[in-house]
């Protein structure tokens, strides 16, 4: 967690403090970008853009918000914009998925999902679902922190997260069933 004193110094115009602050958050910024964009170079670009924006906008950060949710808001906005321009998100017919899921629940061979499969499956989620999952699991955000970051109502956050997990488990189940692992 970034020390409040460091944030204050950065806001007061201490350039060294601001650069140190960026160094502290660069990994968390990159991690979000990486899992949202599912592409290393795009993630590097987005994370750098986000860090620059944080540098130039540090004066507009207000203490009433958590610093890390403010940071994540910036990086997720940049990423959402990037993938909107890049490709339309795949929309999944939920009813069909739920039906399939129920059908195959029993008799399933239980094994751990590979990280690569999960990452690919996350990449297939609609943008808001993906963002919520990334903040929940890669930033360990609570429902409230996700809501603050994305400017969404709490119930919407829960609904996105729950649906995202349902979709993910169907996608991952299909992977395993189809033998396309690894």
């Amino acid at each position: 967690m970034v020390e409040p004193a460091l944030i204050k110094a950065a806001q007061a115009g201490d350039r060294d403090a601001l650069v140190s602050l960026l160094r502290e958050i660069e990994h968390q910024v990159y991690r979000t970008a990486y899992y949202l964009l599912n592409h290393e170079q795009d993630a590097l670009d987005a994370a750098q853009e986000a860090l620059i924006r944080i540098y130039t906008k540090i004066g507009s950060y207000e203490e009433k918000a958590q610093f890390r949710t403010w940071v994540q808001r910036i990086v997720t906005n940049i990423c959402i914009d990037k993938f909107r321009r890049k490709r339309p998100s795949v929309s999944i017919d939920e009813h069909e998925l739920v039906f399939e899921a129920k059908e195959d629940v029993e008799g399933e061979v239980l094994s751990a999902y590979a990280a690569e499969e999960i990452r690919e499956a996350i990449g297939k989620l609609p943008e808001h679902h993906r963002t919520v999952v990334v903040l929940r699991y890669l930033q360990d955000f609570s429902y409230n922190e996700i809501a603050d970051s994305l400017g969404l109502p709490l119930n919407t956050v829960k609904s996105y997260l729950f649906r995202a997990r349902q979709q993910l488990q169907v996608l991952l189940h299909d992977y395993q069933k189809g033998g396309v692992r690894g």
Binding site: Y30, Q48, E49, A101, I118
Partner: protein
């Protein structure tokens, strides 16, 4: 409990969001319902997999990689309070460029203010006396908008701030002349930074890299962000010169504000879905091309967009260049000589660029370049 309720509880369970009572209700249901038991198993397994995703780290230090850009921003943002789009430049030019862009921004916001005033005021020659103060307070209001995440907010608030304070264009231009010549009023500088920031992320993109232009609103991709940034700067420059001479300067002001408002609209389009991906991509390429040409060899010290948006005049290394804004093509490149040029402005009809030529001895001559792709002519005014 039915399975639907069970699902909700299972989801909250994997987030550790259930109290004891809810947990026992869930376990009770799962004990009787094999489907839900299997589903719970899968959700828990998925959640564990998600928690164990690798905490990837970048292959190199991102902060080190952007340090030059941060330094760049420092030099163009006065005292680090504001953000402004500016092409990359070598350190040796820092002082002059910083002061100049500062003036651009100060005059840019005043131009925006003036036009808002003109749009709103019924009697444009009302209250001459109090208007200086009004304009200053509207500047302060804009500064407060530094927090507004969306450009459109900034634009709306400029509008809102100006509305209760009708002011004549003449007196507002008086203020502009003050600030641009005296270089004082830090507060206004901050406000103008936000005004430049009216195109929001596009301004950021300008600072960082030209390859992330926003999609234009409603599919008119060619008027996307960075272009407006330039137009504000360019027009501001033109008007700051005019303002010193006379109080009207409406010709050039007409262009500035309209572009400014387009900036707000563009930013909204940027935030929302843009159906015209192709347009946006085309415009992105065009912007890339034009920005590349700026950053390519030597950075421009001055730029001005023509009122019709078709041309961009730039002074690079003391010589004048004209770019076609649509594709960023360099259409006129002056032969280097001993003199330098400065003080770019455009005629209202976009056919002529005015500037001042200074020879090696420092003698100044007012010049103009007539825009004619079949043969540009530079003549003494």
């Amino acid at each position: 409990m039915n399975c639907q309720e069970g699902m909700e509880l299972m989801q909250r369970h994997v987030d550790g969001d259930l109290n004891d009572e809810e947990t026992s209700r869930l376990m009770d249901h799962v004990g009787h319902c094999p489907d839900c038991a299997a589903m719970l198993e899968r959700l828990v397994r998925l959640s564990r997999g998600l928690e164990q995703l690798p905490r990837v780290v970048p292959p190199y230090s991102l902060v080190d990689a952007i340090l030059p850009q941060l330094e760049q921003w420092d030099t163009t943002s006065g005292e680090g309070e504001t953000s402004a789009a500016a092409p990359l430049e070598p350190r040796s030019r820092r002082a002059g460029r910083a002061r100049r862009s500062w003036i651009y921004r100060v005059s840019g916001v005043v131009v925006a203010g003036v036009v808002v005033g003109l749009l709103l005021v019924n009697g444009p020659y009302g209250r001459m006396g109090g208007s200086q103060q009004d304009a200053a307070s509207s500047g302060a209001e804009m500064k407060r908008q530094a927090d507004a995440p969306m450009a459109s907010m900034g634009v709306q608030d400029q509008y809102g701030a100006a509305s209760p304070a009708p002011e004549s264009s003449a007196s507002t231009f008086g203020i502009m002349a003050d600030t641009s010549e005296g270089g004082k009023a830090k507060e206004k500088s901050a406000a103008s930074g936000e005004a430049t920031d009216g195109d929001a992320s596009s301004s950021d993109a300008g600072v960082q890299a030209p390859k992330a232009p926003p999609a234009g609103s409603g599919g008119s991709g060619t008027e996307a962000g960075p272009v407006e940034g330039l137009s504000i700067q360019g027009t501001a420059d033109a008007t700051s010169r005019d303002a010193a001479k006379n109080g009207s300067g409406q010709g050039s002001a007409d262009n500035g504000p309209v572009q400014g408002f387009t900036g707000g609209g563009g930013a909204q389009g940027f935030a929302g879905n843009d159906p015209s991906q192709d347009d946006a991509a085309d415009s992105a390429n065009a912007l890339d091309a034009s920005q590349m040409s700026i950053a390519g060899e030597q950075p421009a010290t001055e730029e001005a967009l023509s009122p019709n948006g078709e041309w961009r005049a730039a002074i690079t290394g003391g010589k004048l260049q004209i770019y076609r804004q649509g594709d960023g093509k360099l259409v006129y490149d002056q032969t280097p000589d001993e003199g330098t040029r400065s003080g770019l402005s455009w005629s209202d009809d976009s056919t002529t660029v005015y500037y001042t030529f200074s020879d090696a001895d420092g003698n100044q001559t007012d010049m103009e370049l007539i825009i004619d792709p079949s043969g540009f002519q530079e003549i003494r005014r």
